[in-house]
């Protein structure tokens, strides 16, 4: 009797930490932050509801608006550049090159490092006096302003470059594995029909890779929304507040400015953005899956 009771409860005891993490840690934190975002909490939490006051204030705060805008600009820049570069590199790697694993190892190694490391490395690489752009300027190539880190209108590009360097390898891996799953018969048919390879890529293969593009983009988007250490280490949000990002806004309002209510409203805004993008991502992927299913049933 007792034996059976123990056998029946062991799964529950074993899974207790996971259940606690989900309900208390994750859902509890999310619920608590959502609640706090509707209160007038300052440096200490208050539990009296005041409606959307924090959200109204948040969207009147210049620094938040700049942070949000920067987040979108970084996301667009990083996703566009990484997809373009990652696709070209993956296609190049897919041409039966020798030393493929060496190249792949090189493209992916930045991903193994901390974002703090990446930020500090690029702070030095983009140094106004000694940096790469200064070297290019020295040999007459001045298409890149060597002062990029000190210019409010350009400093965001430094973050985009560092992000692309850090994350492009992952996109290469994702796209390469999608390329490898393309049916070899397609290539055989193309060869028989005399269709040039570039034509195949543009009209047949790349459209087939859409799910991989969606996945890579969504992962990059999550990375950009969470971006914190890189900005802290590379620009510190400056010059001025020109490279501030939402996560840094949240940290500053939680721990330095003592305004939990405003920080909570900022958190919930990010939650909404991630939720919407996640839904769009799922819909796009499902649509691809659905079309595939229809194709298959038609043929």
């Amino acid at each position: 009797m007792l034996d059976r009771a123990i056998t029946r409860t062991t799964p529950y005891i074993a899974m207790l930490p996971a259940y606690a993490a989900a309900f208390v840690g994750y859902l509890g934190s999310i619920g608590w932050m959502i609640y706090i975002s509707f209160t007038a909490s300052k440096s200490l939490p208050k539990y009296e509801l005041v409606g959307t006051y924090q959200y109204e204030r948040l969207f009147q705060t210049t620094r938040w608006l700049i942070s949000l805008e920067n987040m979108f600009l970084i996301a667009v820049g990083v996703i566009a550049l990484t997809l373009a570069l990652g696709t070209l590199l993956a296609i190049a790697l897919d041409q039966h090159v020798s030393g493929e694993s060496v190249f792949r190892t090189i493209f992916l190694y930045p991903y193994a490092m901390s974002l703090v490391v990446t930020g500090i490395a690029w702070q030095w690489l983009l140094n106004p006096q000694h940096g790469l752009a200064a070297i290019l300027e020295g040999i007459g190539l001045d298409f890149f302003d060597s002062n990029i880190l000190n210019r409010p209108d350009l400093a965001l590009w430094a973050i985009v470059i560092a992000c692309v360097w850090q994350g492009a390898g992952l996109t290469v891996v994702i796209i390469l594995s999608a390329l490898r799953s393309v049916d070899n018969d397609l290539w055989r048919i193309a060869k028989v029909e005399g269709i040039p390879a570039w034509r195949m890529y543009v009209s047949v293969v790349l459209p087939m890779l859409r799910p991989a593009f969606y996945t890579a983009s969504f992962l990059m988007l999550l990375g950009v929304v969470s971006l914190y250490e890189l900005v802290l280490a590379l620009t510190g949000g400056g010059p001025g507040i020109s490279t501030e990002v939402p996560t840094k806004f949240i940290m500053d309002y939680l721990f330095q400015r003592g305004n939990i209510g405003l920080a909570a409203a900022a958190c919930v805004t990010l939650l909404a953005i991630i939720a919407v993008c996640g839904l769009v991502f799922l819909m796009l992927r499902n649509r691809v899956a659905l079309n595939r299913g229809l194709d298959r049933s038609a043929s």
Partner: protein, 306 residues
């Protein structure tokens, strides 16, 4: 020679000609492919190269010469300073203190993450517990959100329990953040095993934990290695958890590095900074270069974080 023969010869020569142009074109394409890959490989390696050469130069040489030049005199002293005496603005102990803090953080945190991830992944894959799907989705969704979302509520819980500012807070937070993705790895692995193995063990009367301990665990070596590599990298590279929950005493290497580099006023000691940066990146880089494919397997599952 008949006209037919001539035509045949002409045809053959045209065929040979198109074949040779095709071959030549293919060779050109191959050359362009390699040139493209090599160029970008060089671009990706450039930052590491610059960091390395900078770390061995004297400040005079850095000021006077090009960033890309090899050091004229190899000077190891920046490394010594970075390791043991660089200043953070508060203290001057180099990244050494942070290194040992990171070691003390990573080992128990990874052990805890693996243990909990194993048991939870097993439970998600093979138990029929109520709400397990809801719990799993909540954990996965939680890993999508920025960690800033959780620092304040978690901090309040830790304060209430009295572990804020201790190693316990750091360990628990790391386990909390890394367990879902680890559970996902184990869950997918257990679900990929042939159902007969599990059925046979159940017929033999194995209970919930016996099945895990005697049957599944001995087969889990490779996936455990993948999970360990992923978690060591994630936790070593993390910045936020040690910054917020541990207090100054337990700052990990990443925080120490940022404090050393970004608290310097006036001209920065670039050589020392680059040595400190490479030292901070050394552990995950070594793991990466030695583990190769296993690392890739881990990140393709764990790419949502880090």
């Amino acid at each position: 020679m008949t006209t037919d023969d001539t035509a045949e010869l002409a045809g053959a020569s045209i065929a040979a000609h198109t074949k040779s142009t095709r071959l030549r074109r293919r060779a050109v394409a191959k050359a362009i492919t390699y040139a493209f890959l090599t160029l970008w490989a060089a671009a990706f390696l450039l930052p590491l190269y610059v960091m390395l050469v900078t770390s061995f130069k004297s400040m005079d040489e850095i000021r006077g010469g090009s960033m890309l030049a090899l050091p004229q005199v190899f000077d190891p002293s920046p490394w010594v300073i970075a390791w043991s005496s660089a200043c953070t603005g508060i203290e001057c102990g180099g990244v050494r203190v942070g290194f040992w803090n990171s070691v003390v953080t990573v080992v128990p945190a990874v052990a805890g993450t693996l243990a909990l991830g194993l048991v939870s992944g097993y439970g998600f894959a093979l138990s029929r517990l109520a709400l397990r799907k809801v719990v799993f989705i909540a954990l996965m969704f939680g890993t999508f959100l920025p960690w800033q979302f959780f620092v304040f509520p978690l901090g309040r819980i830790y304060s209430a329990v009295g572990i804020y500012g201790s190693l316990w807070a750091i360990w628990i937070t790391h386990i909390f953040f890394c367990m879902p993705i680890t559970a996902l790895l184990f869950k997918n692995y257990f679900e990929s095993l042939p159902a007969e193995i599990i059925k046979a063990a159940r017929v033999d009367g194995a209970g919930f934990l016996q099945l895990l301990w005697y049957v599944l665990l001995p087969m889990s070596g490779p996936i455990a290695a993948v999970a360990a590599i992923l978690n060591v990298t994630l936790i070593w590279n993390n910045f936020l958890v040690g910054l917020v929950f541990g207090g100054r005493e337990w700052f990990p290497m990443t925080v120490q590095l940022n404090n050393i580099v970004n608290s310097q006023l006036g001209e920065k000691a670039y050589n020392v900074n680059m040595a400190a940066t490479i030292l901070t990146a050394a552990v995950p880089l070594a793991i990466y270069f030695f583990s190769g494919r296993w690392f890739i397997r881990g990140i393709s599952a764990g790419a949502v974080k880090g």
